[in-house]
Amino acid sequence: MAPSSSIEEVLAKAERDEAEKLQSIRVEKELELEFDVGNLLALDKNAPDLRDFRAQKKEDFLRSLARDNAQLLINEIWKVPTDRLDGVVVAKLPDPVTRLPREKPVPKPKPPTKWEEFAKLKGIQKRKKTNLVWDDVHKEWRRRWGYKRAKDDTKDWVIEVPETSDPNEDQFAKRIQAKKERVAKNELNRLRNIARAHKLQLPGAGLAPTGQPSRSELAKAEQVAKLSTASVGRFQERLPKEKAPKNTGKRRKFQPNIGDFSTEKQKQLDLLKIMDGKKPRLDVTKAVNKQMREEDMENASRQRKGAGKKGRKGHFTGKGKGKGAGAAAGGKNRKPRKGLGKR
């Protein structure tokens, strides 16, 4: 009897001890906290007790709240698997769960250059070239490119003049020139690739002359040239078999001075009808503007009353000076053939 009870006692004591130990790290909360161990982050959704907060000293309340939450977070962190690295215990953190915005947009794949497109079409694959190549002249391995490269043609002290070329031509200068041109061409192609990637008009499309201009291109060029005079091509004579230019903008057309009397009469009658009518014609824009202005005024006056002395005194800008209205049409100093502007 005695030994069995002692065993029970021991067990009970062990249990109590365990419970006591856990007591020191246990925290009770109404709602469970949300953890993001990857970010060492916790969110406590429980509303802090306002009465407690006001009763206690503020700092003490905040500290005890923080201690409890920290204890819960630490308990959670201590649950993740640990590892020993160079004699220190590290916890392997899971990936962060909280979604945060990126700093910069997701990188886009690089648009292929013209060569890359072509190579893909033809199935040409890149091959890695070795960095070092054997230089027969110096009898050693040298870099393929750059300083102290193998087969360096800039270091030649003599160049054979080809039979076909002019004997007085400077072959060294020619080589340098060729190299410069290759570099420039490469750069131009790079820029063209950039422009292509951005769907801009390719540089050089308007500048470089095309080899064989087509008939329509020539005609267009001729027309443009003709109009490029001080009088906008008014006094240019036509070539013997030249056709009249097509699609050259609209010109203002006036009613003929003499002719169709019936339409003219109808127009005049319509005008008279409007003038004679009792019902006033409503100009919608004007009416709406007036209405809006009145509302604004009312609002402003109400605000002024509400705000008392505060705030700015009402500045109501009026209609403005009406600059530029209706000055465009007509005028003496009109250019000849306005609207033909193809320049």
Binding site: L43, P48, R63, I74, T98, P101, K104
Partner: protein
Amino acid sequence: MTTLDRVAKPKTKRSKRFLQSREPKLTENVKNAMIIKGGNTSETVTNALKDIYSLKKPNAVLYKKKNTARPFEDQTSLEFFSKKSDCSLFLFGSHNKKRPNNFVFGRMFDYHVLDMIELGIEKFVSLKEIKSASCPEGTKPLLVFAGDAFDTIGEYARLRSILIDFFRGPTVSAIRLAGLEHILHFTALDGKIYMRSYRVLLKKSGCRTPRIELEEMGPSFDFILRRTHLASDDLYKTAHKQPKALKPKNKKNVSHNVFGTKFGRLHMQKQNLDKLQTRKMKGLRKRGGDVMQGEDAVSPKKSRDE
């Protein structure tokens, strides 16, 4: 800007590397913060900015001269600074009569302001005022947000997101347990936000998990919420977009049960037994004409019997 976009090519390898470090990446760099002193600041604000800088230090830039900027009116100067120092988080401190002791926490996306929230400092206790041991520079803090407001009210939730972004430091795969020394505790209570910074003391508890005691370290703030500028929904969404390459691919036809056993499903085609290669013998040899005879393929042996 990708490498191809740049019209002016970097002339040296070094400058190329520098520009590459600023390009958008799949897994991004740690967000840097710029801590900007406004055109007019009080002593409180200046000291507070310094303290925040010391908390944030390896990943922060302090602009300590006067910078006349008004983030809520004109964001261009912030955008310029962001581009210049490659920072996507900012803290702007200013002081004027209308908004005394003012902090603006915010973040940028693609060098444009994504969202920012203005907080007024009601009370500030500096790091220096509290005489206790502080944490070493660059300690990754534990972050705790307490209060239902952080979950329910939209502006508070966004503020929480900004503060997490601001203070969390680098994302790490593993952390030294003894190095968990610093905790930042934000409490939303009574219309205010209390930010407290404590040093964590790990005490023995008798079991594996230590008991925690806290010691006030500073800086501590009492904030009130002022103006906010939150990103539009679609901008916010684009900023959260994850690159496809980073998303884990789900494997087809593989499943796991509760015990972690792996199951797979295999799809087998029915085997064509007619084409099965059997023992090669002279007597069993296929003859060209025989095979194509008849509707159903006949074995060579049978065909010979006919």
